[in-house]
Amino acid sequence: MAVDELNFLIGGPQGAGLETTAQVLTFSLAHSGYWVISEREYHSNIRGRHSYIHFRVGRKRPLALTYPLDLLGAMDAETIFTHFKSLEENSYLVYDESSIDKTYKQIPSMEKHLKEILEMEIGEKTVGSIVEYLRSEKGVNTVGINFPKVLSRLSKEFDLSPSQASRYVSSILIGAVSGLMNLKEQSLRKALENRFGGRKKLMKQNLFLIKLVSDSVKEKHGTPIEMNPVRNQERELLVVSGNEIVAMGKLVAGVRYESYYPITPAADECFFLETLDLDSSLVVFQTEDEISAICSAIGAALTGTRSSTSTSGPGFSLMVEALGWAGMNEVPIVITYYQRGGPSTGQPTRGSQSDLLFSIFASHGEFPRIVLSSGDHLEAFKDSVMAFNLAEKYQVPVIHLLDKFLANSIVTMPIPELNLDITRGLVDEKTNAYKRFSLSENGISPRKFLGEEVMWYTGNEHDELGHVSENPDIRRKMYEKRMRKLRLMDKEISQEERAKYYGSEDADFLLVGWGSVKGVCLDAINHMNGAYLHVRFFSPFPRRRVSSILENFDSEKIIFVEHNYIGQLRKLFLMHRLNAGGSIVKYTGRPMYTNELIKGIKTILEKGKRKVVLELGP
């Protein structure tokens, strides 16, 4: 019984090698031509707290994650206690046989609240009794492996100390999963090579362990979840996280200055850029704080450099003042803004889409800006290029909204098309009497760069030369010149680019979403007769297009899907005098899953509810 698609999850303590497991499995699957999407959940912690990676693998490209699971791979007891409810009939559980006597009370890393819930639900049960319950009552296939035994085989084979051997636990899971899925050895090898590079010994030891486990699992259980073979159109696949694809986009766009102050979930983008081996002189600069990050990026932009900074909520909050300077001085900078759970430090490693309205209105005073967001990896790539083009064309700060879900999702995808336009906006060619802020009709004053000409900038209101002016007439003219760009951008940037419609013309209902909910919305409408309106720009807001789409739906058939509490996109629609219907929101910090979204849609459509709050996922 081979399958076309597989949902699985591996879990274990932070820092114990889960990422290695995931990486190797993903590369192996990609090598065999399968499409993968996965997302990682972890605590704001370096070692010890529970972490897991949720996968969906398909012969066709999967769009989103979903429950229940076909397979749960547990590195430790905490994983079992945390996830056993996600298993249903015929699914598989891989677990450590040596942990069967553990109860959740013996797990110090487990959060109090989960313990309280377990206390009520299962009382004193051990891992063993959970496994037994799953097997006998739920029809779950349980695959026990004695981790210590397997590791001691490894120790003996390679003469490793027990503590050295314990670092290979990630390969036990790889072995078990690849056994059950019957992954090709060739694919595994490739994946291990990629992971361990030239380090031959590591390769060998891991491969040994993987085969050991894989063989024994196959022996006992066969290869029950082997996937049907696929003939992928692509000769090569990119295996890439959201952070990485943005970095790739920026590099293609020609970024040459990226400043940052480390913060989850943005820093991985900068770190990735730092590790690249480039011919060009890209400066990736770790500053003393986010204020310095944005100020120095603005400084770099004044010299004509494509420059950007990446951050998340707390960092962006600190950038707000300088953002206004960029607005006042019409400086093209790109702020890549990865949303995470707020307010304040909030849930630093969990996802959210609760900074939309803040992005649009951040900083005192009024100035045009572009705020856009990307719904998936390919969009994120293209938008990273477009962000710079638009920033320079309109000489405005661009806020590119992403979120933790996307940042920490690893997907397989074709190498994106690189034949993109790089447009750098209006540049002054004349030599004399340059005026940086010439009062032009459409609001765009030709740029020149520091070093080429004498020019002045100031955050005060200023005249055409950039000198401070408090004259009310100058004030009005300059203010209006800047604000004229709002209209210009709205006229020039394609409405279709700014809001995309997916689904048939005669859909029964319309989902409206933004950012990373795209995948789950598309997945849901594939299962129902719905359509999806994907809003990509919030400023300038594509009112015309959105309005014409909304007209086709009754208000009760319009459902906003967002990761926040107040329904921020919905509020924005209202502000633009647009119809707004019901809302499906989630704010636990976990991604939306197709199964719960579908259920939520039904609740709204069938039971006439106006708001559904999702809460799936541990």
Partner: protein, 305 residues
């Protein structure tokens, strides 16, 4: 040598008559003209305050930023265009109050930037509150009560932070200050000049008379060689503040600049820093598919046929 007038802009200077800033700006005009710097290649970066207005009065490029942040702006400018002489004009509130974190950080980098601090002991433009350099217990005109906070010693702080050129000037000694500015701008690395600047409107304690009585030249009255003195000696010297106040260069070393350090890691950097790099060919990215595949090879999987 360009004429000093060429470095003046047409903007009316709206400092109070008698303000020490006039001394600073005339030293600056003269320093720029004696160095004969290309006006397009000099960038003055300032914060907010009376001092923050300086760039508008000078006919070189000017970036009048936000309060406390001229140093971060300056770093971005410098790192992306190495041709530029970047000079920061900041108030004492700007650099040592709200901006002290950046002040400390610049020292750590030794980026080739000159910082000129207009040290008037007050927040001039907001009407005379105590700045971080005002001594404790002093009640200047604008204060409701005597100052509660101890002063920061700007020279000591610069030394501690790693600036490789640390000096103090006095706004009323423009000749001396002019020379300091020239030396600081020529110095490769982060240079700092603490300029004692009388504020005639709000600081009725640290006045011209106050300084005239106390200020003396480090190199005149002592055998002081800033390239030779130990950091600790310079530090000790910086503590001298009272009957006698030294001006001149406290400390000077040639160390690798931040830009040079980056150059060691990025081969092309010194010759083609960010602003000088081509990023497009015929309106398309410089990176083609082959380059993309090379750069990101670790992310690319060949699919089994």
């Amino acid at each position: 040598m360009a004429r000093s007038k060429e470095y003046r802009s047409n903007v009316w200077i709206d400092w109070c008559p008698g303000c020490g800033n006039f001394g600073i700006i005339s030293a600056l005009y003269r320093a720029l003209s004696e160095m004969g710097l290309d006006r397009r290649k000099v960038v003055l970066v300032s914060g907010i305050g009376c001092s923050g207005k300086t760039p508008h009065y000078v006919n070189v490029s000017g970036v009048h930023t936000i309060h406390g942040r001229p140093i971060p702006f300056a770093i971005g400018i410098k790192l992306s265009n190495l041709d530029l002489k970047v000079i920061v004009h900041g108030g004492d509130g700007d650099l040592l109050g709200i901006g002290s974190g950046h002040f400390v950080s610049l020292g750590r980098r030794n980026s080739d930037i000159t910082v000129i601090m207009h040290d008037n002991g007050v927040y001039g433009l907001t009407k005379g509150q105590a700045s971080p350099t005002l001594s404790k217990g002093i009640k200047t005109k604008g204060l409701a009560r005597p100052n509660l906070q101890d002063p920061i010693n700007p020279v000591a702080l610069a030394l501690t932070s790693g600036y490789t050129f640390v000096a103090r000037g006095y706004a009323m000694r423009t000749d001396h200050l002019k020379e300091l500015i020239k030396e600081a701008v020529k110095h490769k690395g982060s240079s700092f000049i603490d300029v004692l600047q009388p504020c005639v409107t709000y600081n009725d304690v640290n006045t011209v008379e106050f300084y005239d009585m106390r200020v003396y030249l480090l190199n005149e009255e002592e055998d002081w060689d800033p390239s030779e003195v130990e950091l600790t000696e310079a530090f000790e010297k910086s503590l001298e503040w009272g009957e006698r106040i030294p001006i001149g260069v406290f400390y000077k070393r040639r160390r690798k600049t931040f830009e040079e350090r980056i150059g060691e890691q990025i081969p092309k950097y010194l010759e083609a820093p960010p602003s000088k790099e081509k990023i497009t060919i015929n309106g398309k990215p410089i990176i083609d598919r082959e380059q993309f595949r090379r750069i990101f090879s670790r992310n690319i999987v060949r699919v089994l046929d």
